[in-house]
């Protein structure tokens, strides 16, 4: 019983939040990794692309809410999500047309793209703050919980409850569907295969008659879709604030590098590695320990490895560790 209580406690504060956060990071890192695989640069504007897509989704959500449209127990944002993706894809394709294409045709150095992405980061950040403002926006509606802590206690007779927020459930389910679709696309369709060919060997792909502009456009659309989905899920789970989305860039980059830049499977693994370590290292285990060992042995402290303020530090430390030991990531990426 004591052991089950400890498990319930851990699931409530570590397992469930880390699964949801890991899914969000994985979706974000997939976008970064796809862009890296095809265009060969780290997109610093990805966090702000997420913010842009989420902003459009929020605006549509508000519009739908004001018209009385809703999905019952599900959040209205899911209904608005396709619109967010379309607008975000259009915006990203526009930036490619206006900015990146020029450098692609000049075959510029990857670091030039990187600087250009910093410029786009500034502009996008400005656009988002200009339209929706720099403050927190809450747009979640529908059912709040799949299972509440109290119900769980009654159901199982444990003294520790596990609550699962609807947003957490939706996040994980959406992640699984999106990843399945993405891998089907990359491995089974002609366009997906041409993308992988282009990523493996650009010159050979061009010789085989693959249209580079088409590959790049598909990549941007996929990246925008992934960014919008990841951003919306994160916003539903926590809240939307442009600056937070900019800051998400760091754990997302860390996930992509830990998994191996350019490797989609690695991005997913990396997302979960980062999310679980962030939450596990900053969780205070005192109460878990209290269930596991006799009362008078329990230490006075919180039994916490690092204070929660250092969440970002964890992703960075793992990143450094991976760079030291395995610079190409857990799964071999394309960047060396």
């Amino acid at each position: 019983m004591e052991l089950l209580n400890a498990l319930a406690l851990l699931s409530n504060y570590v397992l469930v939040p880390a699964l949801a956060y890991g899914s969000q990071l994985a979706l974000g890192a997939l976008g970064v990794t796809l862009v890296f695989g095809i265009l060969r640069f780290s997109n610093f504007a990805h966090g702000d692309t997420m913010a842009f897509g989420t902003m459009v989704t929020i605006l549509f959500t508000w519009w739908f809410q004001s018209m009385g449209l809703h999905l019952g127990p599900l959040p209205t944002a899911l209904l608005a999500l396709p619109f967010g993706i379309v607008f975000c894809a259009a915006y990203v394709l526009l930036t490619d047309r206006v900015i990146y294409r020029f450098y692609r045709h000049k075959r510029a150095d990857p670091v030039i793209y990187l600087i250009a992405s910093v410029g786009i980061m500034f502009v996008t950040n400005g656009v988002v703050r200009f339209i929706i403002g720099p403050d927190d926006q809450n747009f979640a509606d529908g059912e709040r919980f799949i299972i509440k802590a109290g119900e769980f206690k009654k159901l199982t007779g444990l003294s520790e409850g596990v609550s699962i927020k609807a947003s957490q459930g939706i996040t994980v389910v959406t992640m699984v569907i999106v990843v399945a679709l993405l891998f089907w696309f990359l491995n089974r369709t002609r366009s997906g295969k041409s993308m992988r060919a282009y990523s493996d060997n650009e010159d050979l792909a061009l010789l085989s008659g693959i249209n580079p502009d088409r590959v790049v456009a598909i990549t941007w659309i996929l990246a925008a879709a992934l960014a919008t989905i990841a951003g919306t899920l994160y916003g539903l789970d926590k809240s939307f604030k442009p600056f937070t989305y900019f800051q998400l860039l760091l754990p997302i980059f860390a996930s992509a590098i830990v998994g191996g830049l350019g490797n989609p499977l690695g991005a997913i693994a990396g997302g979960f590695v980062i999310a679980f370590s962030e939450i596990m290292i900053t969780y205070a285990y005192k109460r878990v320990v209290a269930y596991m060992i006799p009362g008078d042995w329990v230490p006075d402290g919180l039994v916490q490895l690092l204070s929660t303020d250092y969440k970002f530090a964890v992703s960075f430390m793992i990143l450094l560790l991976v760079l030291l030991i395995r610079p190409n990531g857990i799964f071999k990426g394309t960047g060396t």
Binding site: V118, F312, A313
Partner: protein, 437 residues
């Protein structure tokens, strides 16, 4: 020809500042100038990394923040009560931390090829970490309990704040050495991402390690290297001086203080600029550019690329750290929450790119131009929105939204300036001089 261009651009810049002084106020103009000089120094540091060597450092904010930390560590008076409460614990904690790192690195090196290497290194690190925390935690708790409203931290060394400028450089350089050691030699993106990470962590530490920096409670009232307005207003020579210029002593004292800062900053700027120019024109500078332009052939000529990259990365970060310490000195306070990547890291990038990467004068000009427009774009944005929406009538919701959001125009403006420069004038306002000199 190109020297003519230099002179013209700097004359235009001076004219813009004089215009602000004449039409708004000299106080404002001087405070813009002071921050322009600091920005220029930061841009000089980044120019060494990017312009000489082609290294992308996305962690300028962190190195500047370390400079700021140096300012309080050097200048604030020590809090003796806190030292006696937890000074020893902090000291032993730091010793334990260093011992752990040394032991881990030592065993990692010595055990090459033996079984359980990783496991033992991990065990040493985790064990050392817990020992360090058990020494550290009681000490920090004790320190933070000492007068939390006014101190609650160890304080500094009570030395003149000017000493913080070189110390800030050293701190930043040490951090850069660690990051560079790990990431240089990998592809460029890794350096960019790793520096972005370390800058966030340095700022997180400043925000949360209250025993060192008071965290978000901020350290205020740093001693100044220049006289205080109130003392000036009471001294006879100053009143006479302001009488000679026919001004009000109160207003003049504030301008006088800003002029003192400007003088100090200019000295630093000129020293760094002189050294940078000397370095760039020396065999060392030519070697750096040779490495930047063609690593393979430079390597074939026997140049140690990773070592040179590390060297220039540390040097550039030292300069950024000095600028960071100067900034905190000018502010008179350390506010960890004011360190924002867009303002500190990416804005400096815009300065370097727009000014002309590889050209030190370009970095200085970029610092002035971009800071000036960063400050001025907000009033200009508000004015623009006001004009554009003047047809809409007073109570219009869209109009008030647009005018309220005009302050975010500056981000967009900076992004657009960066993108336009990169596209149409990638060598910047003052392009790098190539060939003989």
């Amino acid at each position: 020809m190109s020297s003519m261009r230099n002179v013209i651009y700097f004359l235009i810049m001076t004219a813009l500042i004089v215009l602000v002084g004449e039409f708004q106020s000299w106080n404002l103009a001087l405070s813009i100038v002071n921050l322009c000089i600091i920005s220029s120094i930061m841009a000089l540091g980044v120019n060494m990394q990017w312009g000489y060597a082609g290294l992308f450092n996305a962690g300028i904010m962190g190195f500047a923040a370390l400079g700021g930390l140096a300012a309080i560590v050097v200048s604030m008076p020590p809090v003796h009560e806190a030292w006696s409460a937890g000074g020893f614990g902090i000291f032993t904690g730091i010793v334990a931390l260093i011992a752990t790192v040394v032991a881990a690195v030592f065993s990692y090196r010595k055990m090459k090829g033996r079984p359980f290497r990783t496991a033992i290194v991990v065990l040493i690190s985790i064990g050392g970490y817990f020992i360090m925390r058990s020494l550290f935690d009681p000490a920090t708790d004790a320190i933070e309990k000492v007068n939390p409203a006014t101190s609650g931290y160890l304080g500094g060394m009570g030395l003149p704040i000017l000493l913080a400028w070189p110390l800030g450089g050293i701190l930043a350089g040490a951090a850069a050495w660690v990051v560079g050691k790990i990431t240089l030699g990998l592809r460029t993106d890794y350096l960019a991402i790793a520096t972005l990470g370390i800058s966030e962590i340095i700022v997180a530490m400043l925000k949360n390690e209250d025993w060192m920096t008071r965290g978000v409670k901020n350290v205020v009232g740093l001693p100044r290297p220049v006289p205080y307005e109130i003392n000036l207003q009471q001294s006879d020579w100053f009143i006479q001086l302001s009488g000679r210029f026919d001004t009000d002593p109160v207003a003049f004292s504030s301008i006088f203080v800003k002029l003192c800062y400007a003088g100090l900053f200019t000295v630093v700027l000129l020293i760094i600029l002189y050294l940078s120019e000397k370095a760039l024109r020396s065999p060392w500078g030519r070697m750096m550019r040779a490495i930047r332009d063609n690593e393979v052939s430079a390597n074939a000529m026997g140049k140690n690329i990773t070592a040179r990259h590390l060297q220039v990365f540390v040097l550039g970060s030292v300069v950024v750290g000095i600028a960071g310490a100067m900034l905190t000195t000018l502010d008179g306070q350390l506010t960890p929450s004011s360190y924002q990547p867009l303002r500190f890291t990416f804005l400096v990038w815009v300065m370097v790119i727009v000014g002309g990467s590889g050209n030190n004068w370009g970095a200085v000009l970029g610092g002035f131009v971009i800071w000036f427009f960063w400050i001025m774009s907000e009033p200009m944005g508000i004015w623009l929105m006001d004009v554009l929406t003047s047809q809409m009538g007073e109570g219009n919701a869209l109009r008030s939204h647009l005018i309220d959001s005009a302050q975010h125009m500056r981000l967009m403006t900076m992004g657009i300036i960066l993108l336009l420069t990169l596209r149409f004038s990638p060598r910047g306002l003052l392009p790098e001089k190539t060939g003989r000199h």
